[in-house]
């Protein structure tokens, strides 16, 4: 039972790593900047499919990791500066606009790549099982967890210690006040949007190397990102980490112990959080 318990724990924690990676780009945009970006899921899928293209032409997984993340970041920049900027601050228009983008891009992907499920192949060195003393564990899951921790630390340091981070935190609290102080707040928000695009791109390629992707996967990604961010708390980075961990562990334990009730526990938790802590586990009132 001890080995089993350890396995369930590890499964939950590494799954949380994947969830954190996927949701962190979303929380930057939705949680911090309060831009309702429903195109998040399609960014993920776009990155995975771009990765497939790059992999087919170059054969290098690392190139597709960096390449598609950069392209998705560029797409984020273009979408922000041409479309999103015009509706900034209007939740409903943002919602409809980004949902529209996600449908259009989703259909383009379906038309070009077809409906067949695809996957990326991570380098062999990651996909070997690793021996952890009493049990063997997939190396790639540990790699994903490592990347997630790295992204988390990076974002935390960025927000806490850099000038950009200070501007963002101040801007989230009172955008007009920051602008009055002569700081180019718009530029800072564009930077965050592009950064979020880049991280989502990373998660798309890494996620696409771990799980199969196909048209429609974007809705899953978006749903899970929403759950993680809502449970964790809007606008809080540590909240996303906590949210991912809660969701990951609930998923892992319920699947093992009461598999038929996985969805019940997942959405039950979401409902409880919304009912008793509407701002999430670590969110703050505004």
């Amino acid at each position: 039972m001890n080995v089993n318990l350890l396995m369930i724990l590890l499964n939950g924690i590494t799954y949380a790593g994947l969830l954190f990676m996927v949701a962190s780009g979303f929380t930057l945009v939705f949680g911090l900047m309060r831009v309702v970006n429903l195109a998040h899921g399609i960014f993920y899928l776009l990155a995975a499919y771009l990765g497939l293209l790059i992999y087919r032409t170059t054969g290098s997984w690392w190139l597709c990791l960096i390449g598609s993340s950069l392209i998705v970041a560029a797409c984020a920049f273009v979408i922000h500066s041409t479309l999103l900027r015009r509706v900034q601050g209007d939740d409903q228009r943002e919602t409809l606009l980004t949902l529209g983008i996600s449908f259009v891009v989703g259909d383009l992907l379906l038309a070009y790549f077809g409906g067949m499920p695809q996957r990326l192949r991570a380098p062999e060195m990651f996909s070997v099982p690793v021996s952890l003393g009493i049990l063997t564990y997939p190396g790639f899951r540990l790699f994903v967890l490592g990347i997630a921790v790295f992204i988390g630390v990076f974002l935390w340091a960025l927000l806490k210690f850099t000038q950009l981070g200070r501007i963002i935190r101040a801007g989230v609290d009172d955008r007009d006040m920051v602008a009055v102080l002569g700081i180019d707040i718009d530029w800072a928000f564009v930077a965050v949007f592009v950064l979020a695009g880049f991280i989502t791109g990373l998660s798309g390629v890494i996620g696409g190397s771990y799980l199969v992707f196909a048209p429609g996967e974007d809705i899953h990604v978006l749903t899970y990102s929403l759950i993680v961010v809502i449970v964790g708390g809007l606008g809080s980075l540590s909240g996303v980490a906590l949210g991912a961990l809660v969701v990951g562990l609930i998923d892992s334990f319920s699947k093992t112990l009461v598999p038929a009730f996985t969805m019940f526990f997942l959405f039950g938790t979401l409902m409880l959080v919304l009912a008793f802590r509407p701002h999430g586990l670590r969110g703050r009132e505004k």
Binding site: Q92, T95, T256, A260
Partner: protein, 423 residues
């Protein structure tokens, strides 16, 4: 923030639910048009194989130039997303708005059961179930207007359970499968003969269908000291499972026995190298000794650059049966009684082999045991054993079989099987 958040959640839910695409109608041909509805999953878990299904139907109609009994055929292809409620909704639309009197489909077990219930409300329509394999569609009370040309989950699995015990020498086999009617039936068929032969099943692990794709927690539950693992998964689930099974270092440690849709070409195209040597129970393979098979395979490959799949073949065969019956009645689908009588008596040589119906309007077919091999640069299922003339009751007496509850998560059990009445 409260209201926008709610708005967002509602929108996402709507986006998720409303996705299955609308109907695609070919341009209406001139003359006394014969309308045929086709139900297939073009989105969702089975989207990968969904478009191949439609190819199967089109190929069969192209073979007769879209002319049956002197009438031009018009296809109405509808996406169900493999969801029962959507299958019903689309059927209702086809029947009420388009006046369709013949439906080919649906694919998945849940959809098939929903269609059986719905059949009473559309007595002037014949449903030819072309893919769904949950067994109750054609037993425990049949509907006069529901036929099945595909198979029942257990039908092709009875020989496989015996084979695993006798020929593969397996004694302990665990099961991991999707938690719905079709895998219940496949596992039930396999275990019926495996348990009767003397085998044991130390664990039955059921995975929610269409749920999350992280299999690690299910893989953790697989006992390590077993002779084999029966995998009743399909589509993207199967691919994800194989990849993660490998990453946990279990591939090659525990031999895999496959359900009928586990070793589909879509799955093999992604993880074929990991599945070499895997045996499965089915009624189809990528190499069969019939001229009809070769012709179908070649025509299909020319159009799609892919080997034929079980699903494409099943829909092709369904369409062939429909065409044969329609020719018999001169294309008069409006005479439903006559059409059904003709359909009941259809006997055909198909890419799957000889085809006929039993008295329950379910197909009698050749069950097969297949093995994945690498041929050229493709991974294919090769037949290693044929069991001709299999119907949906296997070795059991039809009356006894239908008196038992349908297979579920914990059935069959050995005590229940010990009471069995054989033919």
């Amino acid at each position: 923030m409260k209201r926008p958040l709610l708005f967002v959640v509602v929108l996402v839910v709507i986006a998720g639910l409303a996705f299955p695409a609308g109907g695609r109608e070919a341009a209406a041909p001139e003359g006394d048009v014969l309308k045929v509805g086709v139900l297939a999953p073009l989105t969702g878990v089975f989207a990968g194989g969904g478009w191949l299904i439609v190819e199967g139907v089109k190929l069969a109609f192209e073979g007769v130039d879209y002319q049956v009994g002197g009438r031009p055929v018009q296809l109405f292809i509808e996406d169900t997303g493999a969801r029962p409620e959507m299958a019903i909704q689309k059927t209702q639309r086809l029947v009420e708005r388009e006046g369709v009197q013949l439906i080919i489909g649906p694919l998945s077990g849940g959809e098939g059961m929903a269609m059986k219930e719905f059949a009473d409300r559309i007595p002037n329509v014949t449903v030819v179930v072309a893919g769904a394999a949950s067994e109750d569609i054609t037993m425990r009370g049949i509907k006069p207007n529901v036929f099945r040309t595909s198979y029942s989950g257990a039908q092709v699995m009875f020989p496989f359970g015996e084979y695993a015990y006798n020929e593969l020498g397996m004694r302990q086999v665990a099961v991991i499968a999707s938690d719905y009617a079709f895998p219940h039936s496949q596992v039930g068929g396999f275990l019926s003969t495996f348990l009767l032969a003397g085998g044991e099943v130390p664990a039955r692990i059921w995975v929610p269908f269409g749920g999350p794709v992280d299999f690690s927690s299910y893989i953790a539950q697989i006992p390590r000291d077993i002779d084999g693992l029966f995998v009743g998964l399909g589509g993207t689930d199967a691919i994800n499972f194989v990849q993660q099974f490998k990453e946990f270092g279990l591939l090659g440690q525990i031999p895999i026995l496959g359900g009928s849709i586990f070793v589909d070409p879509v799955v093999l195209s992604q993880v074929g190298e990991d599945l070499i040597g895997v045996k499965a129970g089915s009624h189809y393979a990528q190499e069969l000794p019939y001229p009809e098979f070769r012709a179908f395979e070649e025509a299909f490959f020319a159009r799609n650059q892919m080997p034929t799949s079980l699903w494409a073949a099943d829909y092709f065969v369904a369409t062939q049966a429909v065409i044969a019956a329609l020719e018999e009645v001169g294309g008069r689908i409006e005479d439903q009684a006559g059409f059904r009588e003709a359909l009941r008596n259809v006997e055909l040589d198909t890419p799957r082999g000889p085809f006929r119906f039993d008295e329950f309007q379910n197909v009698v077919l050749t069950a097969r045991i297949t093995e994945v091999r690498k041929i050229g640069d493709q991974y294919r299922n090769i037949v290693i054993k044929n069991v001709p003339d299999q119907d949906q009751f296997g070795p059991f007496d039809p009356d006894w079989y239908q008196a038992q509850p349908p297979f579920g998560r914990d059935t069959p059990t050995l005590p229940m099987l010990r009471q069995a009445v054989f033919r």
